[in-house]
């Protein structure tokens, strides 16, 4: 007798399974879970904390907040950040002072761990939400984050 009850039970479970997929088939008009990516660029908004790339914000006077302390360079596990600095002369005090020449960021090596941003004492760098980083030439992924002729924002070092 278990022969027939096996068949009955088997068919029942199969039909239960089909009812699940069948339900989704009927309601498939409601919308897919997939996104049609390049088409929805306008509406696609990344979360504020999304880690796309490291950026260095500048204000309208072309000033940034990086003092060149190199803490991020030390914190980085992959050698993604290289800070090229030299000593400039402070105009107000006339003392020699460390300032950044180039903040080099190798995006191709970055693992988006966030340790550099975590460790930065002046909040000079932060996460950018751009994730479309594919390029044809790998060398273009090496970026200089500080803009040309930018300088340190006054008051950051205090």
């Amino acid at each position: 007798m278990s022969y027939f009850s096996d068949i009955y039970e088997g068919i029942k479970t199969l039909l239960t399974g089909m009812s699940v997929t069948g339900k989704y088939f009927i309601t498939s008009r409601k919308g897919a879970i997939t996104q049609q990516y390049p088409d929805n660029r306008e509406t696609l908004k990344m979360f504020d904390r999304f880690r796309g790339e490291v950026i260095m914000p500048h204000n309208e006077d072309n000033e940034h907040r990086c003092t060149g302390c190199q803490k991020c360079e030390i914190a980085c596990p992959n050698g993604t950040i290289e800070i090229i600095w030299d000593r400039g002369i402070d105009e107000e005090t006339g003392k020699k002072k460390k300032k950044i020449d180039q903040f080099v960021y190798h995006l191709s090596m970055c693992t988006m761990c966030g340790l550099c941003i975590d460790v930065c004492p002046t909040d000079a760098i932060e996460w950018g939400q751009n994730f479309e980083n594919s390029v044809y030439d790998r060398t273009t992924l090496t970026r200089v984050l500080n803009e040309p002729n930018s300088k340190l924002m006054p008051g950051v070092e205090d």
Binding site: E9, G10, T13, L14, T16, G17, S19, V20, T21, I33, F47, D48, R49, F50, R51, K71, A75, P77, T111, M112, C113, G114, L115, D118, V119, W127
Partner: protein, 373 residues
């Protein structure tokens, strides 16, 4: 001697087959050398190392903060729990007092990670036994967790959210609401998982009695996580060596005694329910307070040896640190769950068919970077 020769002449021929490193069922770059007689498997020999990055050697030159981010890349499906393991080891060594808030959030995030890992496993399990649709249903639910993670941690897979001393950022204001939404959503979807796959007669035929692992063997082979628990071996680190906030919540260790593929499947499904209940218990009582304790910029552990176990989605992850008092560990060993679980594959797969091997491997839930480290 001569009779033996005659006998071997009539022996059916065994042959080798290379399963992997590129094969749909090995979930990554695992290579299995199968010795097969017809369809019957005579021997399984894993060949590893296709993505070995020598994380243990890298740890010997990195600071402790940097080590945390490397653990993301081991068992990437339970990245947060791996992070937590290293952080706990470092915090215990430094004897830091961790705020309650951090503990609770770590537990919630850890359980979310577990659910998301099991969702992916469920989808892939279905796919391995041939039900391709499960993959998308599993991923649909996992997507919600990924969104929660992305909003709070900033990344979907390799979060690096834990730091020694607490959490890198406080939780996002939307976190609690989103988690509650997810719980409500997932509670309606889990029974659907059962209806689609768990009860299915073909699925049961494929899994019941396949790849049986006895309790003694499970302990001897160092099986942990759902693999061990399906054999009736109580090995939940959250129960036996509670860490973070697991001593504050009540949950059942899902145990089965059959030890076959179906039992391992059921244990994981049960674990998803338990994880949901743990999150439910904690989500309303996240204490106020600091999300992080100040540590030195350069963490130097006191000289000594430290061991920390956590329960990842795959089983017991051990972090063994030998410190000589410098900024990097002298030796750091990860006892990864997948490595031990893989070692018993030969033991349970022999005698089955190729289809059985695939089903068994799916329930071992191997993540190759976890094995290769």
């Amino acid at each position: 001697m001569e009779t033996e020769v005659v006998h071997t002449n009539f022996k059916s021929e065994e042959y080798f087959i290379n399963m992997g490193p590129q094969h749909p069922a090995t979930h990554g770059v695992l290579r299995l050398l199968l010795t097969i007689d017809g369809e019957i498997i005579k021997k399984v020999e894993p060949d590893l190392g296709y993505i070995h990055r020598s994380i243990e050697k890298m740890c010997e030159r990195d600071s402790y903060q940097q080590i945390v981010h490397l653990t993301d890349r081991m068992d990437y499906l339970s990245a947060n729990i791996n992070n937590e393991a290293v952080c706990l080891a470092v915090e215990n060594a430094l004897q830091l007092e961790i705020p309650e808030r951090v503990k609770v959030i770590r537990t919630i995030i850890g359980e979310l990670t577990r659910i998301s890992s099991h969702c992916l496993w469920w989808g892939v399990m279905g796919m391995d036994v041939g039900a391709l649709t499960t993959y998308f249903y599993g991923f649909r639910d996992r997507e919600m967790i990924n969104d929660i993670m992305e909003e709070t941690c900033g990344a979907r897979l390799t979060m690096n959210y834990n730091v020694p001393g607490g959490l890198m950022l406080d939780i996002h204001p939307n976190f609690v609401k989103r988690v509650k939404d997810f719980i409500a959503h997932f509670k309606t979807k889990l029974p659907e998982y059962d209806r689609l796959l768990t009860g299915n007669v073909i699925f049961k035929k494929r899994t019941v009695g396949v790849g049986v692992l006895s309790k003694e063997d499970a302990i001897s082979f160092g099986a942990s996580g759902p693999v061990g628990r399906a054999s009736g071996y109580s090995c939940d680190v959250r129960k036996h060596h509670p860490y973070s906030a697991y001593d504050k919540v009540t949950f059942n260790e899902s145990l089965k005694t059959e030890g076959d593929t179906y039992a391992r499947y059921l244990v994981r499904i049960q674990e998803m329910w338990e994880s949901l209940s743990i999150i439910e218990q904690l989500i309303d009582i996240i204490p106020e307070g600091e999300h992080r304790v100040k540590t030195n910029a350069v963490i130097k552990l006191p000289k000594g040896e430290y061991f920390q176990k956590v329960e990842t989605a795959r089983g017991e992850l051990g972090v063994y640190i030998i410190s000589t008092g410098t900024k990097s560990p002298y030796r750091l060993k990860f006892r990864s769950p997948g490595f031990s679980n893989l070692s018993l594959l030969n033991h349970i797969a022999v005698g089955g068919k190729i289809g059985d091997l695939v089903a068994t491997m799916a329930t071992l839930d191997l993540v190759i970077p976890d094995i290769d480290r």
